[in-house]
Symmetry: D2
Subunit: 424 residues, 4 copies
């Protein structure tokens, strides 16, 4: 299904008076409101194909209804999200879950929905039925060259699919690691990984990038071979200019200062982009901004500052993507909340008085620096997000419109109550 | 299959000379060696039925071969473990994974293998196909009384199965919790849980106990309704003398001093028992003693001290059980390693010079207290474990014997390479 | 020094037009704005005497200028804070740092500044020069009864000072614990602590309370004898109705769900009150709301809900106090920021649509429950805080007024640049 | 004071019979016992000058008696330690705490005690009375070039002192960081640090190294400018071949896999060396091996493997040093326990059957790999340590001899009960 624009407009109409009052109130306080709105209008966050179904844990999964049963239906769902928020104009595919039978048709469908294809993701953390070698003990880091080779070829195959769809980046997340002391020779595992990545790197088209993700633990519980930003950076440096480091917010030990890592990677020209989610304990993959929205703001504050310092375009300078699991919420609603939270953090970061902040920093006026940051953070920027969405043809309140238009009910009617989308 | 004792004896024979030299060396240094060996001989750790198959994570599962396909085969596996180590004389069942069709026959089979039935475990963290209400949003804490009632009845049904098999305790682990702020009213959730547990408590036979487990997170990632020992203790206190707190080593935030909790629960008469495993990050469910064996020793040091202080029997005073997941090891081998590690920690704790330790404590001689503890910990107690096993008719080196006798190969021959045991 | 009200009024006058526009904008959206403002106007947070000087770490302390050199000057500083924000009408003293030579004169000075005396705090974590026994190995938990007795008497002495000043509660924080395994018998330490607290409890005046604080680690790095809320609760239960549990936000392991603990303690009638601060790693004692303001809001959401459920007065039902360390900010500025952050969180919690939240919870509408909470949190409530302060005779922007009126410069002129207040 | 060798010999004589029995028992099982003993005999761990006095926390310090009052007495204490364990033949000085008035005399005293000078440590985390600029807001990363310059010059001055004493390395630990979001521009702080370090690097003598330490938090509680190994590695890489990364065991977030970091730094030729201690929570600075001795063993396992792989000498290939705080133990006793624990872990690592381990790794035999590691770890290697000490002329049981000879009592008699050594 697709949302007819006039239905969104009708709902906007009901919300408009209240919005207008709020927007005018805040707009009067902002210098350069048009420039700020233009940035918000240009900003998009990719939706991962695997996030459109209900997620689960090792203890179980409680599926919802109307989940997409095919790649086409996944595109349809992203199309719905984008129609509502006008900030989700791409999808990130996962191979082998999303192998397109007919790339041209898929590409045409995407174009019709106003979508394009973000980074493609390989999967060497699970075994597929037809697969010769098992990844039980890893893939690109495996002690057996035959296994590594199989994993390298899979990645190159993923690139091939990506090329057909117009993607420009390969995103590599490896679960390779160990559960017990002694299981791995760390040095050997690292060198094998490097050698495998070098083969993949050699097979990248000229205009492609490879994004190397890191994660400290899970599904391995003693070591992960690309376990932190330093290890990813080391690999990316050895690989070359097309390689950089992908930051997933949930892939850090408790207490990690993620915003500092972001700043340093940007400084070194090695920040590939983001996988957004939120967490309280580990890689909890919760709705973005649901647990610690101030941290999200602080990260965006570094991003805006760092991208500006290098003269990079906010919207396209790095990759923006959500990577969350929706265990107890409707996946589309969860994604709408996540994109909204990201845009709020971005708008707040844009509102930071950089001149005042820099002056406070230069004079070590710590209390004032905090005042400057929190003045932006405490501002209610929701009217700005709404205005940008409205100007782009989206909804003033995407989640409310989604419910008002009974989208999920229609999807269930079309697809059935007992559907399980591929993914985690 | 069952292991013929003469095969174990033959392997022991090969190992005996080396063992004998080592045992004599250490035995000469120990006062009361017989008493110590008797304690080791009497010590048993229950095996959970769900730990006999390969475990997995939300990212995938890589099954091994020859896994048990039925409750009978699970008993068979525990029988093999017990034949080898003579320290695993009971099994803990999980309902509905292990519903016995014919309780009398199962009981007879167990008796034949020298086994009995430890605590039975209920499952309200997954939905079963025939189930009326879903546990997606919890069970005993659910806002809907009908769901709570269904979960209460399931627990009472589990008790009924347990009675038929001769169990004496119901172990309750609830995944009930929330993924997001606002999802739950904490007070309401706690009160609902208490009320549900009171109904279950009322249905316990006179000679039964209920063990209330706690866990801070996973599968819920914002709150868990029985989230720490304090909350479990509060419930157990309100329930009455048959209720107490079960400690799973992996169910703590990083840095928790578990041994102190153990000491306090023992002091209050509210320590039900243990679920053993090891972990580096969260509830990693790794082989016992594989990550932090000193912590395991410190816990046993408190257990021995606390049980002695209350005049409780080491072997039967509280419940001893393994609860681990075997993602990359043969489950039986993993369990053999776990039981071995537990017995080592127990033997080391028995070796602690309590008089010297108490004297050091009374004079705040911190360096000496550490020396006393570490003198026991640094002792190589493997010959003591081996001697106790030998005396009980088991193997001097259970894991080596398991491999020598090609047990897994035989199980695969009987059961096939592609088997997946029920469990996580 | 004292601030003349007309100076504050003059600054308010300059800020008034902007404030008025903002306040009118938000007030129009709030049902029951008067009731809400009344709650904000009645709300006060106590200032600890030791927070008025620059704090430090074991690595050093970098003092600022104009710090209070006496109890009188500490009162003066709290008077300044209260004059600016009208929300800090009490001071919490620490004995022996703040022993009043002339209680009557001190009480009169406080009254003149509009202040009274909150809970008094004992100190058995440091040795004083004249002291007979050392607290190196603890105080109320000590193996030596003479040391325990000395610590008990110190606490009773603190109560005596408190009675003279009109305090109504004794706040007990013990650093008692151990640095190494084996150092303590946990059970003995707990029993000694209980026995000591019972003696103190017996000496409390009829209308007094004793607040038992907990903390997992620091300054002891293996165990702390009152290490978590469960242990504090256990002690408070055994002591009786005058004893309850004090929650310091920084005294938790990473990941602890503090708001859930708050809810449960309130439910059990055992929540004494709060020590506010913020932290990223351990007991960092940073400005309230500077690291995770959403968590602060969630805690206040539980407080408002729980106090209302028991019909308790928000302002006086439990104790509210700041306990932070000001290592790199002007202490008064830091305290002004902290009180402001607390009032913001409180106002946001008051704005939560309880009916909508409860309805969402009852129907397990998790996405909506989050929307309801975040609608309140994302509201810019600063105009409400400002209006309440103005109505009470305080400043619309206390920190800005503090700077505008050059208060610190005047304090330095009076007290000197090289002053070091007592405290940590 | 110095220990007369015959007194140590006499105590050894009393212990010899028991030792001999134990040593012979284990020696018979070890291939290449002489080679192993030679490695143990060659192994030394430096003692930091600041660890010879009682440490403390921000909450207080409880000094012991007989602490060294001068650099000469610090050398004396290290001489005592070395006489007892024959494994502590160097001291690491800290400037300005240990500025030698007469370098030649100090060097001669050291030589007489069999000691030399390990890395020298600079201090820019505290202000000294005569200092022009304050380090309140950092040193090498400071926004003000004048402050940076002062800190650079201090470091170069430290090198000068080191040259006079025969040191060959400068150890730089910076507390530079921030307590609050907004306080720092991370990029600017990093670049300033790099520029400052480059100046120091330029001033290093040809045969010197600079060791760059990292730490995630404390004394700053929001960010630290050299916060993790990746940031230190990045700086060391940009500086050049004389720069490398120093690992302090306590300077990691909870859960960090330190042994993996060690392996990677060794692989990259960038591991400077170690600061040993142990911890349960943060930078607790407890006795080495007192909390998690298995982790210490796993680190040594990587060190032995990695040093061998690069053909580096175990004893001299990298720097070995203790860096702990002794809050409740006699500092000398604590250091003796720490060195003992390090040697035990080293001996266990030497005992690992590398061929068997590699074979298990190559076949992904995870259970066997664990067996191989734990076979070494569970071995009681204390007789090997004792034998190596004896052969070097040291004590069979250094701590016991220290007590037997009443060394502390003599130091108190000489130096007094109320002494406070410089340091933390």
């Amino acid at each position: 299904m697709q949302l007819e624009k006039h239905l969104i407009d009708e709902h906007n109409h009901q919300l408009f008076k209240k919005h207008s009052r709020n927007f005018e109130h805040i707009a009067a306080d902002i210098d350069g409101i048009d420039s700020l709105l233009n940035k918000l209008k240009a900003f998009n966050v990719a939706i991962p194909s695997w996030a459109l179904g209900t997620g689960g844990t090792r203890f179980g999964r409680f599926s919802g209804g109307g989940e997409p049963r095919s790649l086409e239906e996944k595109l349809e769902d992203v199309g719905l999200i984008h129609a509502l928020n006008k900030s989700s104009n791409s999808i990130s595919l996962h191979i082998p879950w999303d192998i397109p039978d007919n790339a041209a048709a898929i590409k045409a469908l995407a174009a019709q929905l106003g979508l394009h294809f973000d980074a493609v993701n390989s999967n060497t953390f699970q075994d597929q039925s037809a697969q010769q070698h098992s990844y039980k003990f890893g893939s690109l880091h495996h002690v057996d060259k035959a296994v590594r080779q199989q994993a390298v070829e899979h990645n190159l195959q993923v690139v091939k699919y990506g090329v057909e769809l117009g993607s420009k980046a390969l995103s590599v997340w490896l679960s390779d690691g160990s559960n017990f002391p002694g299981q791995l020779n760390f040095r050997g595992a690292f060198q094998n990984t490097l050698e495998s990545l070098q083969q993949i790197y050699a097979g990248l088209p000229d205009d492609w990038k490879v994004w190397v993700e890191y994660k400290p633990y899970e599904p391995n519980f003693y070591s992960t071979t690309i376990g932190d930003w330093g290890q990813s950076y080391l690999l990316a440096s050895k690989l070359g200019p097309k390689a950089s480091t992908l930051v997933d917010l949930g892939h850090h030990l408790q207490g990690t200062n993620i915003e500092q890592i972001v700043s340093i990677l940007l400084m070194e020209g090695k920040l590939a982009g983001f996988h957004f989610n939120d967490s309280k304990y580990g890689d909890d993959d919760l709705t973005v901004g649901s647990i610690n929205p101030y941290q999200l703001f602080l990260i965006f504050n570094e991003l805006v500052e760092g991208l500006d310092a290098r003269g990079m375009n906010h919207a396209t300078g790095i990759g923006w993507m959500i990577d969350a699991s929706h265990n107890v919420k409707d996946p589309i609603e969860d994604l709408l909340q996540s994109v909204q939270a990201i845009k709020i953090a971005y708008a707040q970061a844009l509102l930071v008085d950089k001149v005042a902040l820099q002056a406070a920093q230069q004079s070590n006026d710590v209390a004032l620096a905090q005042e400057v940051l929190q003045a932006a953070y405490r501002t209610d920027v929701r009217p700005l997000i709404a205005e940008a969405s409205l100007a782009n043809g989206g909804s003033l309140d995407p989640l409310a419109t989604f419910r008002k238009l009974k989208v999920r009910e229609q999807l269930i009617a079309q697809r059935g109550l007992k559907t399980v989308a591929t993914g985690l």
